[in-house]
């Protein structure tokens, strides 16, 4: 799965319009990026890549692109 494809899935998870997020979007500006969606993100990575993400690394992410990189290249 490419970064762009995962970004689409991430937008679906957060229930935001397609194309509304970019790699540069600051997570602080995304109101639906909350503790429930942290779990949702972990599940999405697990389901897509059968891969476990370290929650401490999620906490370090500042931009949407950081989360996408973490998922695709973890």
């Amino acid at each position: 799965m490419t970064r762009d494809e995962f970004l689409k899935k991430f937008e679906e998870l957060l229930e935001v319009p397609a194309g509304s997020l970019t790699y540069e979007t600051e997570l602080e500006q995304v109101s639906s990026w909350d503790s429930l969606n942290v779990i949702g993100y972990i599940a999405l990575v697990d389901e897509t890549f059968r891969r476990e993400v370290d929650p401490e690394k999620i906490a370090e992410c500042r931009k949407v692109g950081n989360l996408i990189d973490l998922a695709v290249s973890a």
Partner: protein, 360 residues
């Protein structure tokens, strides 16, 4: 993983007990705005929880469940040779709550009684221990009392835990019976995860909770050293790492397949996790037992409470082969295949505060 098979033991009844007080998650508007609460309730699948009032202990709930179960089975108190209390919310640091319950229930002095300190995995561990010990005892009956009052160890404004937990206890009556179907157990532990789900202060390692101040200062609703700390994402990861393999392993060890399990009774952590887990482990959704809506996560009591709440009609109609799976705090996990015979008694009681039961 530890694997065990137990033969010649039957479960005669499983009763749940919850406090009368009910808290609606939708009413917790001091912790989150209504819209957010709505979304949260939908995700965790928990609408309300039974919550103890001041002075109401796990043992109070367990005692009522035990007395009702013994009465309904017609088992005299002096026929019980073994009492095991599984909880992480006992009456005192010492003595063991099982000793207090032996007296309170009027069980004979010949009754062996002790506590086991486990949470989410505690029911499966307790059942495994009780069944095995019963096989080696001269007597033929055991009482397994399992439960927690987790709401008493939550910081009142800690949003990471407040909406999830409810209080409950359970009583399971166990007897020797030659023709009972074998039970199969698979158990495991990974203590490297201890720090992710913990009450750090107040016990031996940190009596005054000084070092725990560090965690408290993370700022979740004024959590103090004697309050429960839970790292949700870590719990989720642990569950995905261990539970699908655990389920497959116990089915395999029992010599069965997925189709031969009538009901999957998992620790009721929250609905999102249960649904994801069942999808991930390819479990049949229609055979997953879920009682989260009205009870929340009741820690060690969640498996027996789910059986008592949901399986009554099935057990009146015939036997039900269950797959039990408890997982969480420790990290600790256990799974069992247990065939509950037709006529196994089930019931859920509501217990008012202040009514200390004593054997007649």
């Amino acid at each position: 993983m530890a694997i065990a098979r137990v033969s010649g033991i039957n479960v005669a009844g499983i009763y749940g007990a919850v406090p009368t007080q009910v808290v609606e998650n939708a009413s917790m508007t001091s912790l989150a705005p209504p819209e957010e609460l709505k979304k949260l309730v939908k995700s965790i699948g928990i609408e309300r929880r039974h919550v103890v009032q001041e002075g109401q202990c796990t043992s109070d709930l367990a005692a009522d469940a035990a007395q009702a179960l013994l009465a309904d089975l017609g088992w005299p108190a002096d026929s019980i040779d073994l009492l095991i209390f599984v909880s992480q919310t006992g009456d005192y640091q010492l003595p063991a709550t099982a000793c207090l319950l032996q007296d309170r229930l009027g069980l004979p002095k010949s009754c062996a009684s002790f506590d086991i300190g486990l949470g989410c995995s505690g029911y499966v561990y307790g059942l495994w221990v009780a069944c095995n010990l019963l096989r080696s005892l001269a007597g033929s009956r055991a009482l397994l009392l399992v439960g927690d009052t987790s709401t008493s160890i939550l910081a009142p404004a800690d949003r990471t835990v407040q909406f999830l937990f409810g209080d409950a206890a359970s009583a399971t009556a166990i007897e020797r019976k030659a023709d009972a179907e074998d039970m199969t157990f698979v158990l495991g532990t990974d203590g490297s995860g201890a720090k992710h789900l913990i009450v750090p202060g107040g016990a031996g390692r940190d009596r005054r909770g000084a070092t725990a101040d560090e965690q408290a200062s993370r700022g979740d609703g004024g959590r103090g050293p004697r309050d429960l700390f839970m790292d949700g994402p870590q719990v989720f990861n642990f569950t995905l790492r261990e539970v699908p393999a655990l389920v497959n392993s116990v089915i395999q060890e029992a010599g069965l397949n997925m189709e031969s399990i009538d009901k999957f009774v998992f620790h009721q952590a929250n609905e999102y996790l249960l649904d994801y887990l069942s999808r991930r482990a390819k479990l049949p959704a229609d055979r997953m037992v879920k009682i989260l809506r009205n009870y929340g996560n009741t820690s060690s009591a969640s498996i027996p409470l789910a059986i008592a709440d949901a399986l009554g009609p099935d057990l009146e109609a015939g036997s039900v082969r269950t797959l039990l799976a408890g997982f969480g705090v420790g990290w600790s996990w256990g799974s069992a295949v247990v065939n509950l015979a037709e006529g196994t008694l089930t019931r859920v009681l509501e217990v008012a505060p202040g009514a200390l039961t004593r054997a007649a």
